[in-house]
């Protein structure tokens, strides 16, 4: 929970950097969608880096192994927490983005659906990668290294669905359903994979 304010600050600062990096005061279409998703992704990586830190530093893994619960429960719990973090992050950061850059706000409501669907994938993959990296040296280095290629398809679908929503002339739903389907499939597969293999990451 401690990393959440840092994630928000990071995201808002990144918007300012994009403002000058792109030299635009208003964004729309694919540019807007690229800026918002890049920012959210990197802010999420900050949080994902740290979700298993208390377990590692304060012996939570050992305590958990002693507890009479199934191990995948920890995966589900951590993924749910990460999902909530991301929802809170987006609830703050996306309105800020809209105030900063968007001339037209009507696309934000359908965007929320895409945000939620992408968060599930982020949460599943992030929990899996973080639990793999936390027991290694070079933890901070490995999380982005492993996570970024894995979320490329997620980003493709999310930006693909978001770009028409943020079009300057009002939102359009070009391929919206298709992308949502891709997101759903991706979420489903990696929730299952994470749930299935998590057992082996805790074993010692």
């Amino acid at each position: 929970m401690r990393s959440l304010p840092a994630m928000v600050l990071f995201a808002v600062t990144t918007f300012i950097i994009f403002r000058f990096g792109l030299d635009r005061t208003a964004l729309s279409g694919s540019l807007a969608s690229g800026v918002i998703w890049t920012t959210l992704l990197f802010a999420a990586v900050l949080g994902i880096n740290r979700i298993f830190l208390p377990e590692r530093e304060e012996g939570g893994f050992d305590a958990f192994r002693l507890a009479p619960v199934d191990r995948p429960v920890l995966f589900a719990a951590k993924a749910a927490v990460l999902f909530l973090y991301l929802v809170v992050l987006e609830a703050i950061v996306v309105p800020v983005f809209a105030v900063f850059f968007l001339p037209e706000w009507s696309g934000l409501l359908p965007l929320a659906v895409i945000l939620l669907a992408t968060n599930i994938g982020f949460a599943a993959l992030g929990t899996l990668i973080s639990s793999m990296a936390v027991n290694s040296r070079a933890r901070d280095l490995l999380v982005p290294l492993l996570l970024l290629p894995l979320v490329v398809p997620l980003m493709i679908a999310a930006t693909g669905a978001t770009a028409p929503l943020l079009d300057a002339g009002g939102p359009s739903f070009d391929k919206f359903g298709t992308w949502l389907l891709v997101l759903g499939l991706y979420d489903g597969v990696f929730c299952l994979v994470g749930y299935a293999v998590f057992d082996f990451l805790l074993e010692d």
Binding site: L128, M132, A133, N135, S136, R137, A138, R139, L141, L142, L145, L146, P149, L150, V152, P153, L154, I156, A157, G160, T178, V182, L185, Y186, V189, F190, V193, V197, F200, L201, E203, D204
Partner: protein, 250 residues
């Protein structure tokens, strides 16, 4: 022993690959559209297919390692992925040459197969630093298997997502509306694919044999040292031993 039949397999590989090259250069007709440069297809596509197949097979071996806790499967998984990464480099290079020759650019972003292959390749490149960062041997093997499974599931999903995002200009040789590949080209392609797959299997066996041998050597050396011989032997931290799974305990 992985070494059994290695010699025959090598000879067979060389013969099939040679036959493939003979077919490419002397038998199969020129492509009507692209001419001579289309012939790199018989090298590029088999390399890509074998590399991707190897990645997925690495995932299957990872799964079997987790199920059985047998180190041999982890070694297989490592060697599969290792060789597929090498084949992946070759695929990217031949693909870029072909792209330069027929589209005029080394890299074409609108082209889904190239992009998804690059993403998959980059993902599997992180397999090495990941393995290297985990010190405990058992944990390393288990975590690497989890990686192999996750990445194996990722390969088809990634291809699907990237393909949906882009327009279609990659030569879709097998399933075009115009009817696909003529018989002679298909035959040549299949011979080349078989040759490439055999090359991959041979190299896998060779590398596994190397690992097995070095595992046995260090086992014998330790036994000798325990008996009081040696002692001045080379510092046994040979390069690569820390990330590569070894088979000493077998």
């Amino acid at each position: 022993m992985s070494g059994r039949g290695l010699k025959q397999l090598s000879i067979l590989t060389a013969l099939v690959l040679l036959a493939g090259f003979v077919l490419i250069f002397f038998w199969v007709p020129m492509d009507a559209d692209q001419g001579f440069k289309q012939k790199i297809f018989y090298l590029h596509v088999p390399l890509a297919v074998v590399a991707l197949g190897g990645f997925m097979a690495g995932g299957v071996e990872g799964f079997r390692h987790l199920r059985s806790d047998d180190r041999r499967h982890d070694a297989n998984s490592y060697v599969f992925i290792h060789l597929s990464v090498i084949f992946g480099v070759a695929t990217l290079i031949t693909g870029m040459l072909w792209a330069k020759a027929s589209w005029g650019h080394f890299w074409v972003w609108d082209e889904p197969t190239l992009v998804s292959f690059l993403i998959v390749f980059l993902l599997y490149c992180t397999y090495y630093p990941f393995r290297y960062a985990i010190e405990d041997r058992d944990r390393q093997a288990r975590y690497a298997s989890v990686f192999a499974i996750t990445a194996g599931a990722f390969v088809p999903l990634n291809f699907m997502a990237v393909r949906m995002a882009e327009s279609l200009i990659h030569p879709r040789v097998f399933a075009t509306s115009s009817g696909g590949l003529p018989g002679s080209m298909l035959f040549t392609f299949l011979v080349c694919l078989a040759g490439m797959a055999l090359l991959w299997v041979t190299l896998v066996k060779l590398e596994l044999l190397g690992k097995e041998t070095s595992g046995q050597v260090s086992k014998l050396r330790r036994a000798l040292e325990a008996e009081g011989f040696g002692g001045d032997a080379e510092p046994s931290g040979t390069v690569g031993r820390r990330i590569a799974p070894n088979l000493e305990s077998q």
